[in-house]
Symmetry: C2
Subunit: 140 residues, 2 copies
């Protein structure tokens, strides 16, 4: 058993699966003018209404180097607004515009479309989810 063989690597199918699933999102998200990363940022905003970039980064496991340009794009698209906090000027918060709120309707169909092409049983999906969470918690 050679640990340097590609097929003996656990990380490689993880890397490929993530890449390929994200790629599945691409044509669906194009209808909303979003990329996958922009989409998960919108997911958070549809829950939170308003959030500091710092907290958004903690949730998405992304830093300002990724988020700053991404959020500027979402702002240019008219989905969000950015504003610097008055009480602590280090913080910038983002919040939904009317268009951003409305976009949620168009997004409703996406999870089902993805689920139907991933096509795991309920038990498999739960099991995969739990294993991934375990991996994530150990890499922190």
């Amino acid at each position: 058993m050679d640990p340097l063989k590609l097929e003996n690597q656990l990380c490689f199918p993880l890397y490929v699966a993530a890449k390929e699933v994200v790629r599945k999102y691409t044509p669906l998200l194009q209808e909303l003018n979003l990329t996958y990363t922009q989409y998960i940022a919108m997911l958070v905003l549809w829950e939170e209404k308003e959030i500091r970039i710092k907290d958004l980064g903690d949730k998405l496991y992304l830093d300002s180097g990724t988020l700053t340009p991404l959020l500027k794009k979402l702002e240019k698209l008219g989905y969000i607004e950015r504003k610097r906090s008055k009480s602590d000027e280090r913080n910038v918060s983002v919040s939904l515009t009317k268009n951003g709120i409305m976009l949620k309707n168009k997004a409703e169909v996406i999870p089902q479309q993805i689920a139907s092409c991933i096509n795991l049983s309920e038990e498999e999906a739960v099991s995969l989810y739990q294993l991934l969470v375990k991996v994530i918690n150990q890499t922190r």
Copy 2:
């Protein structure tokens, strides 16, 4: 159960786990002057000695848009050679240099180092592997 909640998304922990595990590789691979993507390309070459870019792309799920600049970097580092096939000039093959072959020794320690920080049981690792393969096969 809101399917648009971040925590109800299967893809999101998949995306994060892949990202974070790849990030774990980064400091280890720096010792070899490699990035993760360059590393998996080297894994294939340590098995195959020589391979067409097309076949390498099929194995790694990457296209020439990613591989061409990446392989040029590996060539510049002195780990591989690129040469166009004489019998079919559309094909370019890559093969290991002496330095590329020797690099394998330095890489031997990496799988164990990663395994120890992912820290899943044997059964969990097998289960995760199989679920990921299932996902990959369904996204093709």
